[in-house]
């Protein structure tokens, strides 16, 4: 099989590239060895959450301008701010096509607040409807209740309540917690004690929802906001919509400890979309090495096959997904091709929770403005790189993980499409 494009890595970046290439009529396959970071993520898309001084930003697209001016090697600088907006607009349509509409809050270009399981508020841009983005101005939320289900360990309402109370806006607010004991209609006798979020989602049935509804109406009837673990909107039915309708309360789902229901939902939507537009998925298969000569990838090897394509995109993720490897003595490498790497001088800070983040997050593959990497200084013309394997940005501190994955995946696809179209 000779593909037009072979994408290595099936996370947010790789799937974005795959979908865009397939839509353009290319013969594209996405090969992926393991789980994507999406499985653990909140299921929201951050574009830019904080500016260079560490302040939360309301309009990420404006803040991008100054970011790329100060950091010309930032992946967003390679993509160009106009293209970042275009790619995200495109993504929003694609994911809706896949049956998972995602929304911004208030203004189309504004960030909203994502509530976390520790009660923190993080700026984010695109959210699933179940998460119910909190608008930038929070002032008229005066009574918040965190609700969970007795025994469930991956979302603790007491902790979330304590966390939210430390927020300046909520210091005067009433923030409470409530545990509801559920019979778990489809739990086959098991209790929430031993369940992770996806299992709990499957175990909830009509009678549980009845009970939740009654308890909410009895006990938190006057709350401005009720936050629940993200496991109601993904069961046999979308129970969250049912509950919203029956209680009239403002109910939002908060991502639990991993594995995360909204993250997994986003991953499946993207995979569905890829196949729907004619792309292939080669799951559970690692690419071991690539055969590169004279600035050209000739083929890549899996444990039992050699794969050929005109163009390749590397979207293999960071350390966690094994797209990057680190060795004793501070050395870092890209394991498939051995590409040239950028590593910051210091890999880590003294404390774990530090405003400036850690150098290891900025390490990655160095690319040119077309997102092409080099090997021993020679540019590889039929390879492009996207997503968190890239150097030059800190997705966590900036709050840019999803935005960079999508925009670089989108741009890599555009480059590929251009080249494949050439005679």
């Amino acid at each position: 099989m000779n593909y037009d494009c072979l994408v290595i890595g099936g996370g947010l970046a790789g799937l974005t590239t795959g979908i865009r290439c397939a839509e353009a009529g290319l013969n594209v396959a996405v090969i992926s060895s393991g789980e994507s970071a999406l499985t653990f993520s909140s299921g929201e898309i951050d574009v830019l959450g904080t500016d260079l001084s560490g302040r939360a930003v309301q309009n990420p697209f404006t803040a991008l301008e100054s970011l790329v001016q100060h950091q010309p090697d930032h992946p967003y600088a390679h993509v160009g701010t106009g293209n970042v907006a275009k790619s995200l607009d495109w993504f929003q349509r694609e994911i809706a096509e896949a049956g998972l509409p995602m929304v911004t809050s208030g203004g189309l270009w504004d960030n909203h607040w994502r509530l976390t399981a520790a009660g923190a508020l993080r700026p984010s841009w695109l959210s699933q409807q179940s998460a119910g983005a909190l608008p930038w101005g929070l002032e008229n939320i005066q009574r918040v209740v965190f609700v969970s289900f007795t025994g469930f360990l991956d979302f603790m309402p007491e902790l979330a309540a304590a966390g939210l109370k430390t927020h300046p806006v909520f210091q005067q607010a009433e923030v409470q917690s409530l545990n509801i004991e559920l019979p778990l209609e489809h739990g086959r006798g098991a209790t929430a004690d031993t369940m992770r979020a996806p299992q709990l989602a499957r175990a909830i049935g009509e009678s549980d929802v009845e009970l939740i509804c009654t308890r909410l109406l009895e006990q938190v009837n006057d709350a401005d906001l009720v936050a629940l673990p993200a496991c109601l909107s993904a069961g046999r039915k979308n129970w969250l919509t049912v509950l919203r309708r029956r209680t009239g309360l403002r109910l939002v789902e908060v991502a639990t400890m991993p594995p995360s229901v909204p993250g997994i939902r986003m991953l499946s939507a993207l995979k569905r979309r890829l196949t729907a537009v004619g792309g292939f998925m080669i799951p559970a298969m690692p690419v071991i090495t690539g055969d590169v000569s004279y600035g050209h990838v000739a083929s890549v090897q899996t444990p039992d096959d050699e794969l050929h394509a005109k163009q390749y995109v590397l979207a293999s993720g960071s350390f966690f997904s094994k797209g990057l490897k680190s060795h004793a003595a501070g050395e870092i490498s890209e394991p498939v091709f051995g590409l040239d790497i950028d590593v910051p001088e210091t890999l880590s800070g003294q404390s774990f929770l530090v405003p400036e983040g850690h150098g290891f997050n900025r390490a990655g593959v160095r690319v040119n403005v077309q997102l092409q990497p080099s090997l021993n200084g020679t540019v590889i013309e039929n390879l492009h790189v996207a997503g968190s394997v890239l150097a030059g940005y800190d997705p966590v501190i900036e709050g840019s993980g999803g935005g960079v994955a999508i925009s670089t995946g989108w741009m890599a696809a555009n480059e590929v499409i251009k080249k494949v179209a050439l005679p």
Binding site: T116, A118, R122, M156, E158, L159, A162, G163, H167, G399
Partner: protein, 560 residues
């Protein structure tokens, strides 16, 4: 100012102070233990966990050797759930030759340590992790000891005999009146409140800091602070303790314990001002790996979980000679006899595994001051949890545990871990059909909800790090990346002060990091990156701003 009264105040909640606290309480004295951090947060929480047989000192220090073997036997009897009788090997490598082995055998014989010479083949059969290049080996009754469990069980016994524990309270001065020490001035570090405890005797068991307490009375001691660094491997590589059969040196002991193995130590002299800033250096990591892999070559491929170091509270006897020539023997001072200041006893030096003996010596002195004639019975009286139906043997290398909860149908992965950590007291929090409390909160170390709640209610755990020391939560391969938030949730459900819980969660995460940082490569970096995503992005921990974080942030330096 608030006033309290007691017969005895013990300063320092390490293994030594805890043992004095217990001994005093068992002899009928009303005792209060004052510890500025958590129990076992000093050197006790940062050592190697070797239950010495004494063999290490057989050639160089026969007095210590005898002390060790005697305490070794006692601890196996009274603290069965805190020790593992793994036995140990002293291996000779080609570069060591076999000369030392002869002296070693003789030294062991003289000290009464049972030593059995093995062929290299026999040694490899007993302990497959050992360097196959060995030319000789001797088997001796070394074991492992869990310092947290030992300290916690000791304190529990004291409290069950009327003692009162004041952790997170610092001794800030001695009340000296009419030429005697009559009490201690303290400060509660949670709220800053000062108070006094009036008493008849004060025991200074503050380890590496004991000169500070003495300075409150204008006394001094010539401390020799010897710092040692260690590395924790990500899995249990060896079943038995492995030592080098040569004069004690760097990185020549590999101790298994629970789910991990620990290689150590180094030994460097540090000044008094360096006691609170303990970071393991790249050079130390290198030495430990280089030398350690000679004991067990597979160490070079193993994941390193974390690095930590501690400071030995040694007392200088003479200023000459290197640090390993200073006696590791205990030092007990009745300041009435030595300095004409009655009412104060200092107990320091020694080892973790001689803490009971140290306490006996110190408590004898206190009893004399108070005219109490009740004899010491700590050598024969089991610690809480040690009433087990059968002696506990070696934990299997593959992690399957031989520890069982008698008459229980619970899966052994769960019940066995609870018994391993709490002995027969596991029954206090583990009931047969209690799904709710038997749910596993920390998968790596198999810690249940019930165990966490028990530690909060019964074992004085107030913070996340306290819970780690009581239960091993967050000490396994994932270093708390998944369980930290769950445990904080449980703590928040039990405690009024949410800010305190959040502060301790942030401290916990930062403390885990300190130990990972020196070995940040391979899987350690992978896990850290993931953990960073979870704590910072998914949960947003650093954006939380809890009020009034505890003044004492000593948890920020790394521990086992």
């Amino acid at each position: 100012m608030r006033r309290m009264e007691a017969d005895v105040v013990v300063i320092g909640g390490g293994a030594t102070g805890a043992s004095v606290f217990r001994d005093c309480s068992l002899r009928g004295m009303q005792a209060i233990l004052v510890e500025r951090g958590d129990i076992a947060s000093g050197t006790t929480g940062r050592n190697h966990g070797l239950l010495h047989s004494g063999a290490r000192y057989a050639v160089t220090d026969s007095h210590s050797a005898r002390e060790c073997i005697s305490e070794n036997k006692i601890l196996k009897q009274i603290a069965g759930h805190c020790v593992e009788a793994t036995d140990g090997l002293f291996i000779s490598l080609p570069e060591d030759g076999l000369d030392f082995q002869q002296q070693f055998m003789q030294g062991c014989a003289d000290a009464g340590i049972h030593a059995q010479e093995l062929s290299p083949k026999q040694a490899l059969q007993l302990e497959p992790a050992v360097n196959p290049a060995l030319i000789g080996a001797v088997r001796i009754p070394d074991g492992t000891i869990d310092p947290f469990r030992l300290t916690s069980a000791t304190i529990l016994d004291a409290r069950e005999h009327g003692g009162a524990l004041l952790n997170y309270n610092r001794a800030e001065g001695l009340l000296i009146e009419q030429g005697r020490v009559q009490g201690v001035r303290c400060r509660d570090l949670r709220n800053g409140e000062q108070f006094e405890i009036r008493c008849q005797a004060v025991v200074n068991a503050s380890g590496a800091w004991c000169h500070e307490i003495m300075e409150y009375a204008d006394l001094s001691v010539d401390m020799y602070h010897s710092r040692g660094a260690l590395l924790i491997m990500g899995h249990r590589m060896n079943g038995m303790v492995i030592n080098r059969c040569r004069k004690p040196g760097d990185a020549d002991i590999l101790v298994p314990g629970d789910t991990v193995s620990v290689i150590g130590t180094t030994s460097t002299h540090v000044g008094r001002d360096e006691l609170e800033t303990l970071e393991v250096t790249a050079d130390e990591v290198k030495t430990l790996l280089q030398e350690g892999s000679k004991l067990a070559p597979s160490m070079l491929d193993a994941r390193i979980l974390r690095a930590y170091c501690g400071v030995r509270p040694l007392v200088a006897e003479s200023s000459s000679g290197g640090d390993r020539s200073i006696s590791r023997g205990l030092v007990a001072i009745d300041h009435g006899e030595q300095d004409g200041l009655p009412g104060l006893v200092t107990i320091t030096g020694g080892k973790l595994m001689t803490c009971r003996l140290m306490a006996e010596v110190a408590t004898d002195k206190v009893a004399r001051l108070l005219n109490i004639s009740v004899p010491c019975e700590t050598a024969s009286r089991p610690l809480p949890g040690a009433h087990l139906p059968e002696p506990i043997g070696r934990k299997m290398r593959q992690g399957q545990s031989r520890y069982r909860l008698p008459d229980s149908s619970l899966p052994n992965s769960i019940a066995g871990s609870a018994v391993y950590r709490h002995g027969d007291r596991a029954r206090s929090f583990m009931q047969e059909d209690d799904h709710h409390n038997n749910a596993v909160v920390c998968e790596c170390e198999v810690v249940t909800r019930g165990e966490i709640l028990y530690a909060i209610e019964t074992l004085n755990a107030r913070s996340m790090s306290d819970l780690r020391r009581r239960t091993r939560v967050g000490m396994g391969p994932c270093q708390g990346e998944m369980c930290a938030c769950r445990v904080a949730g449980l703590l928040a459900s039990q405690q009024e002060n949410g800010d305190e819980v959040l502060g301790s969660l942030q401290d916990f995460v930062n403390e885990r990091w300190k130990g990972i940082r020196p070995v940040l490569w391979g899987d350690a970096l992978r896990e850290s990156e993931f953990s960073y995503w979870v704590q910072e992005s998914l949960l947003g921990l650093s954006s939380l701003q809890p009020e009034g974080k505890a003044e004492d942030n000593r948890d920020l330096y790394h521990e086992l």
